[in-house]
């Protein structure tokens, strides 16, 4: 059995930017045939966003697009054109899953709404992955993934002590909604496998993001308490934070890159191991640090002592020394650290699929392994419209003459 979990499952992917593409990439990893419906008249934002391969701009050269669209096909349809809308409908009717992240009502106006599709294909799974969900007073509002971090309540909980609320540093709302959507789609496919029934999934990125701070929300609903921001500290562990190490020796973009090591001591025994590893074994018996309560009271002083040790070392060296002593520690990894990480390399996490324009670039792979249905990056991200003709022919059933007519009518831009 070398079939993949989703072999034979087709996904018509009308999403763009990141949340939807991250979702459909999970499905592509598992063997689904994912067809991204794109248009040169409205290029996906991710094709217009750096990094550019080799520093040279181009719609097929973005690392952002190429990372999150691996294993998919791309067709360009100018949906303002009626013949393109007809082609899109034909593709949707041949698909098991039809997913979009347009604002509410757009798919209906294009004649691709779930209510219409389900009459043509009763077992279709329709998915809307919007910022706010399908109903409620804000359902027409637009949202991007980075806005979900403050909107969800996560920013109010994240930040240095006594400082303003902070972001988390990347557009977290997107991939998180994408993985939750992929899970919900798989659950709906499972139900369909058992019963033959399709259904409609109304997904809200906002709600998916709030799911990540559930225990914080419960502090408010149970106790009326809004937790204080407390940097990277933890009420149950000390030390627990980022400690500065020696800068990376080489310059990146003209300046040294500052390096940090993350350290967490879960209990008194782990703190004793940490104290010994940094050459201060006496701290484990020092009443200022022997217990968690004492360490929390004297945390500034404690952190200064740990920093004094880390600042003389490279981050990888510090992490390895502490791990040898049985202390949770890790490099606060940069993108370069990840790319050069011997652990990730030994696991084969990064892949170099052959791409139609840039050749073999390093991309992040799949964070899971399956023993019997081995998922893999089956192809690099598609060029814009790379599969237009073959999808129109093989999936939508158009003849070469019809395809040429549509192209001449500018429906395939």
């Amino acid at each position: 059995m070398n079939q993949l979990p989703l072999t034979g499952i087709r996904v018509a992917d009308f999403t763009w930017v990141w949340a939807g593409p991250y979702c459909t990439m999970q499905l592509a990893h598992m063997g689904a045939e994912v067809i991204r419906i794109e248009s040169a008249t409205r290029l996906c934002v991710s094709r217009l966003t750096p990094p550019w391969f080799g520093g040279q701009y181009g719609v097929n050269r973005s690392g952002y697009f190429n990372q999150y669209n691996q294993g998919k096909r791309s067709i360009t349809l100018n949906l303002k054109h009626p013949r393109a809308r007809e082609a899109a409908l034909r593709i949707a009717m041949k698909s098991d899953v039809v997913i979009n992240n347009f604002a509410a009502g757009v798919m209906d106006r294009l004649g691709l709404g779930y209510r219409h599709l389900v009459r043509l294909r009763p077992d279709v799974i329709g998915v809307s992955l919007s910022g706010y969900g399908d109903n409620g007073p804000l359902s027409s509002y637009v949202a991007y993934g980075p806005a979900q971090v403050p909107l969800s309540g996560m920013s109010a909980l994240t930040g240095y002590r006594g400082w303003p609320p902070m972001h988390v540093g990347f557009s977290y709302g997107d991939p998180n909604a994408g993985s939750h959507a992929a899970f919900a789609i798989l659950a709906a496919l499972y139900h369909r496998q058992r019963t033959g029934e399709g259904q409609y999934l109304d997904m809200s990125q906002w709600e998916c993001t709030m799911a990540l701070i559930g225990e914080g929300i419960l502090d408010y609903t149970m106790n009326g308490h809004q937790p204080e921001r407390d940097g990277s500290r933890d009420s149950a562990m000390a030390p627990h934070g980022l400690f500065q190490c020696r800068d990376m020796a080489e310059l990146v973009a003209g300046r040294p890159v500052d390096m940090w090591v993350a350290i967490a001591a879960a209990d008194d025994a782990e703190f004793a191991r940490l104290a010994a590893a940094i050459g201060r074994p006496e701290l484990a018996d020092d009443e200022r640090f022997a217990t968690l309560a004492a360490r929390k009271r004297n945390e500034d002083e404690l952190e200064a002592m740990v920093s004094a040790w880390t600042s003389a070392r490279f981050a990888a060296e510090a992490a390895e020394t502490l791990q040898r002593a049985g202390v949770a520690a890790a490099v606060c990894a940069t993108g370069r650290d990840l790319a050069e990480d011997p652990h990730l390399k030994s696991r084969g996490f990064f892949v170099t699929p052959e791409h139609g324009e840039i050749g073999r670039a390093t991309q992040a792979g799949i964070p899971w392994r399956m023993s019997e249905t081995p998922c893999s990056i089956r192809s690099a991200a598609p060029l814009l419209g790379q599969h237009t003709d073959e999808v129109l022919r093989d999936v939508a059933g158009y003849s070469p003459v019809e395809i040429e007519e549509m192209r001449a009518a500018e429906a395939l831009k």
Partner: protein
Amino acid sequence: MAGPLATLRIVEIGEMVSAPYAAKLMADLGAEVIKVERPAGGDRARTRGPFAGGRAHPEKSGLFIYLNTNKRGLAIDLAAPRGLAIFERLISNADALIHNLAPAEMDRLGFQYERFHRLNPKLVMTSVAPYGLSGPRRDWRAEDLTLWSDGGACYLNGARDHPELPPLTAYGYQAGYQGGAHAAVATMGALFAAARGAGGQHVEVSVQESVASIIEMANTFWPYMGMVLTRYGPKPVQPLDIFECRDGWIFACCVEEHQWHSFVEVMGNPEWASEELFDERFKRGVNYDALRPLLADWIGQQSAQDLYHRAQARRVPFAPLSNLADLVNSEHLRARGFFVDVSHPQAGAFKYPGAPYRLSRTPWEIRRPAPALGQHNDEILGGELGIAARELEALRREAVI
């Protein structure tokens, strides 16, 4: 109506966040989840706050309650031979086992997939591990902070104007949630394959890799351009930033050119906005040091809610910064029925964050509160596995259960 996974039986051995969150996602869609804990103390999440009422109590942990509502609970000592034998009976008729025992602990307990596969060929066994089950860091000690760091997320966040401050982790247990979400996806894929005749299999999920998968452009900037993204360096596109208003905070968000133009109109077309420095999204990224004070000055005079609605009226995707009270009081979330009333025998009644998705035919639903440690020992071991009352008593005496 029952959930889409109502026919599935899942056994979970989960500590803290990753495996418990994966099993929670399945329980909330109808799967029967049996959580197996150590009799001595149970899941470490029980020791973590916030606690209902503010005082530490193993049945009042908000973290445990959030992640384990809808599950039934067993307390079994897997290190005892008789405990392990009971566990094997449990998974003999389960569809999936989801666990996050450390790889070394798996070795000690003899938790090999092959062994469980012989007992139950259709079993999907999902092992969630900080660094996966192979490689030089397989046995590294990890906490959420170290994984968020080692996956490349932590380095991206911090005070833009204060590079002397350390990188800043995100609230809570984000590495755990991401490991859990990806584990749920992979497990569900394997269960779907099993339903189509593939049989059981072993699924391995690395939390570090789950984090390294979601860090936006940070995982391609190095291989594509030889550049490292930092918390203080320029971002490609701006504004994507939090600003203080006169009565709160707002996230200003202009990704596409038309959104910036509409925002400039909302600001009343100030003269500076037409300067060449800012006339294109990448220039606004490069010249953000000049742009930010201008934006901060104008936004600082606005009301957050008013600016939010004015921007959205022009399809500019701003969002206000919510405190927890704002979420619970949100009319929109109320109309969506997001918060669900949950009543727990020891933690009391409270609102619980609900469904992140609505499935038209097969609902997300809360069916039972989080289990007390070992709450369902008699019900499952006696009632369902048919272990005699006297034997249960002996097992209890010997602290096997």
